[in-house]
C-alpha cells in the first residue's frame, strides 16, 4: 500500500493557509505528499506515470482554485478530496479512451466530487480557447496582452519595452490587439 512520507505531510489547515498566502514551500509539500497515492491509483488502473502527472496536477489546480475562491470547506480530509477528484478525472479519461472496463481498483476511500470536476472542465474549455486565441494572435500583440492583462504591467512599461514613441500609440496598438483577441476567442466553438 501507499507509503506515507514521514514528517513532511502538511496539515490540512496548513495547506489552506499556504495556498491563500501563495506559499511555494507548502505547495511543494502538498504536491510531494499525495502524489504517490495518485500515482498508485493511475498506474494500477491502466495508466502511465504521465497520466498520473496530468490528473494529479488537474486535481491540485481544482483544490487551489477552490481555496482561492474561498469556497473550500473541509468537509472531508484533504487527502480524500484529492483522491476523489483524481479518481473521478481518471474514470472520465478512461471512458474517453474507451479503456474503461467498468471496474476500477481503489486504494483509498472517496466521496462524490462531480460538481468540482464539471466546473473545472468548463474552465479548461475556456482556457484552451484563450490559449489558442493567443497563439493565433501572434507577436507583438500576444506579449502586449500578457504583459498588460496577466502580468499587470503599466502602459508606461509596455511603451518602453516595445519602443513606442508615445503612450497614445501604445494604447491604440493595445486596443487593436484586444479587439482581435476577443474576435479570435469568441469565434472558436
Amino acid at each position: 500500500m501507499y507509503k506515507e512520507v514521514k514528517g513532511s505531510i502538511p496539515t490540512d489547515s496548513e495547506v489552506i493557509l499556504g495556498i491563500l498566502n501563495n506559499s511555494d514551500s507548502v505547495l511543494k509539500r502538498l504536491y510531494v505528499a499525495y502524489f504517490p497515492m495518485v500515482l498508485q491509483l493511475i498506474i494500477n488502473n491502466n495508466g502511465t506515470p504521465d497520466d498520473a502527472k496530468d490528473i494529479y496536477q488537474e486535481a491540485i489546480i481544482i483544490l487551489y482554485n477552490k481555496v482561492k475562491a474561498g469556497d473550500f470547506e473541509l468537509s472531508s480530509k484533504l487527502k480524500t478530496f484529492l483522491y476523489s477528484v483524481c479518481r473521478r478525472l481518471w474514470l472520465k479519461r478512461l471512458n474517453q479512451m474507451a479503456r474503461y472496463g467498468g471496474d476500477i481498483r481503489d486504494f483509498q476511500e472517496y466521496s462524490p466530487v462531480d460538481d468540482e470536476v464539471e466546473r473545472q472542465n468548463d474552465m479548461d474549455i475556456q482556457f484552451n480557447k484563450m490559449g489558442a486565441a493567443l497563439q493565433l494572435l501572434g507577436e507583438p500583440c500576444k506579449t502586449i496582452m500578457e504583459d498588460f492583462y496577466i502580468n499587470n504591467r503599466s502602459m508606461q512599461e509596455i511603451c518602453e519595452r516595445f519602443g513606442y514613441t508615445n503612450a497614445d500609440n501604445a494604447k491604440t496598438q493595445k486596443y487593436k490587439c484586444l479587439q482581435r483577441l476577443k474576435k479570435l476567442f469568441f469565434q472558436q466553438k
Partner: protein, 361 residues
C-alpha cells in the same frame, strides 16, 4: 467618445483608477446606456478569463517544477502492483502476441499446404506398387554413356502383385497398380510372362481385374482357395504372398482392425510387414480363404498396413460387365487348402500368384 477611448475609461473604471467624481459620472453613463453597460460587463468577464488563464499557466509551471524533483520512476516501481509475470506479459504485449501467433499459425498451415501434408489421405498412405522403371532407365542411361549398347526394349515402370480368381486367367490386383498403364504383363512363379489387359476397374475401391490374353497361356487348373464373403474377425491369423522383389515373399500377421485409415470401412488394418510391390497380394487366412487384397500402409507408423476387404472384391467380380467375358464369372467354391499347413498352402499358391508388371510410355 470613440471605442478606444471608451475601453480606456472602462479599464480605469474597473481597475478603480478613477477619481470619485469621474466614477460617479461614469456610473451615470453606464446606467443610462445599456450598450455601454453590456460592453463593461463583457470586458470585465473577458479580462477575468485572460487573467485566470495567465494564473493557471503560472501555477502549472510551478507544479511542473515541483514534479520534476520527484523520482517518478522509482515510485512507479514501488507502487505498481505486479501481477504474475505471465499476466503482465500478456497485458503489455497481447496485441503483439496475437499477431505473432496468427503469423505462426498461418506459416504452419501454408507450409503444410505447400508440402501437401494438409490433404491427409495421401500424406499418411503409401500405395505399395513398386517403382522400378526409373532405376532401370538410369542404369541404361549409364550403360549408354559408357558405350555399352543395351537392347532397346520398354521397361516396366511399376510392379505389383496379382492373384488368379479363375482358372481361365482372370487376375485381381489393385487399381493403383495398373492405373495409367500402357500395357500390362503378368509373370508367374516360374518366371514366364503373359500379356494381360485391364478388364475392369473400380477406382473407388482400388480394385482392378486383369485378363491374361497371351496365346501361350494355358488354363491354370482348379483354383485352390475360396473367397470369404463375411468379414474377418479381429486377431485372425492372416498371411500374404506377393512380389515386393523378384522372388515371392511370404509374410504373416493378424487382422488388427476392421476399419482402415480414418475409419474407412473399405479396408482391414493388418499387422503384416509389407513393402512396395506387395500391392495386390492376396490376404489369406489360415483356412485358405482370400479375405482381402493388400493395398497400402500408413507412413508415420510402422506396422500399420491396409488391405481391401474380400467382400468388395467379390462385388467387383460380379460387377464385371458380362459382354467383356463370355459368361458370368463363377468363383471357386471348393477350397483345397483348408486341410494343409501353411507351408503346403504357400507351395500351392505359387502358381496362382503373379507379379504384375506395368509399362507406360
Amino acid at each position: 467618445m470613440n471605442d478606444s477611448k471608451l475601453l480606456e475609461e472602462i479599464e480605469r473604471y474597473l481597475n478603480g483608477e478613477m477619481r470619485p467624481d469621474e466614477r460617479k459620472q461614469f456610473e451615470l453613463l453606464r446606467k443610462g446606456d445599456t450598450a455601454i453597460n453590456n460592453k463593461i460587463a463583457e470586458h470585465e468577464e473577458f479580462a477575468k478569463i485572460l487573467k485566470q488563464y495567465g494564473d493557471r499557466l503560472a501555477l502549472e509551471t510551478r507544479l511542473n517544477a515541483i514534479h520534476d524533483e520527484i523520482d517518478v520512476h522509482t515510485l512507479t516501481e514501488e507502487l505498481m502492483i505486479h501481477p504474475s509475470r505471465i499476466v503482465s506479459l500478456w497485458r503489455n504485449h497481447h496485441s503483439k502476441i496475437s499477431v505473432a501467433a496468427s503469423i505462426a499459425i498461418f506459416a504452419i498451415l501454408s507450409t503444410l499446404f505447400i508440402t501437401g501434408n494438409l490433404s491427409n489421405q495421401e500424406s499418411k498412405y503409401i500405395q505399395l506398387r513398386r517403382e522400378v522403371g526409373i532405376l532401370k532407365q538410369k542404369t541404361e542411361t549409364l550403360k549408354a554413356a559408357q558405350g555399352i549398347k543395351a537392347p532397346v526394349r520398354a521397361t516396366d515402370r511399376f510392379r505389383g502383385t496379382g492373384f488368379a480368381i479363375t482358372s481361365n486367367g482372370l487376375i485381381a490386383t489393385n487399381y493403383h497398380v495398373v492405373n495409367g498403364a500402357d500395357s500390362v504383363y503378368v509373370q508367374n512363379g516360374a518366371g514366364k510372362s503373359f500379356k494381360a489387359k485391364v478388364l475392369y476397374t473400380e477406382p473407388e475401391n482400388d480394385i482392378a481385374i486383369l485378363k491374361i490374353v497371351d496365346t501361350s497361356f494355358r488354363n491354370l487348373g482348379a483354383i485352390p482357395y475360396t473367397f470369404k464373403k463375411s468379414e474377418s474377425d479381429l486377431a485372425e491369423s492372416v498371411y500374404t504372398y506377393g512380389y515386393p522383389q523378384d522372388s515371392p515373399v511370404f509374410n504373416e500377421g493378424r487382422v488388427t482392425s476392421a476399419v482402415g485409415l480414418n475409419g474407412d470401412s473399405l479396408d482391414y488394418q493388418i499387422s503384416i510387414p509389407i513393402n512396395a510391390g506387395d500391392s495386390g497380394s492376396p490376404l489369406i487366412d489360415s483356412k485358405g480363404n482370400i479375405v482381402g487384397v493388400v493395398q497400402g500402409k500408413q507412413t508415420q507408423l510402422e506396422g500399420v498396413h491396409f488391405a481391401v476387404k474380400s467382400s468388395y472384391l467379390i462385388n467387383a467380380i460380379q460387377n464385371i460387365p458380362v459382354d467383356s467375358i463370355n459368361k458370368k464369372v463363377a468363383l471357386n467354391t471348393k477350397n483345397t487348402l483348408g486341410n494343409l499347413n501353411t507351408v503346403q498352402q504357400v507351395k500351392k499358391l505359387k502358381n496362382y500368384v503373379f507379379m504384375v508388371k506395368v509399362y507406360d510410355k
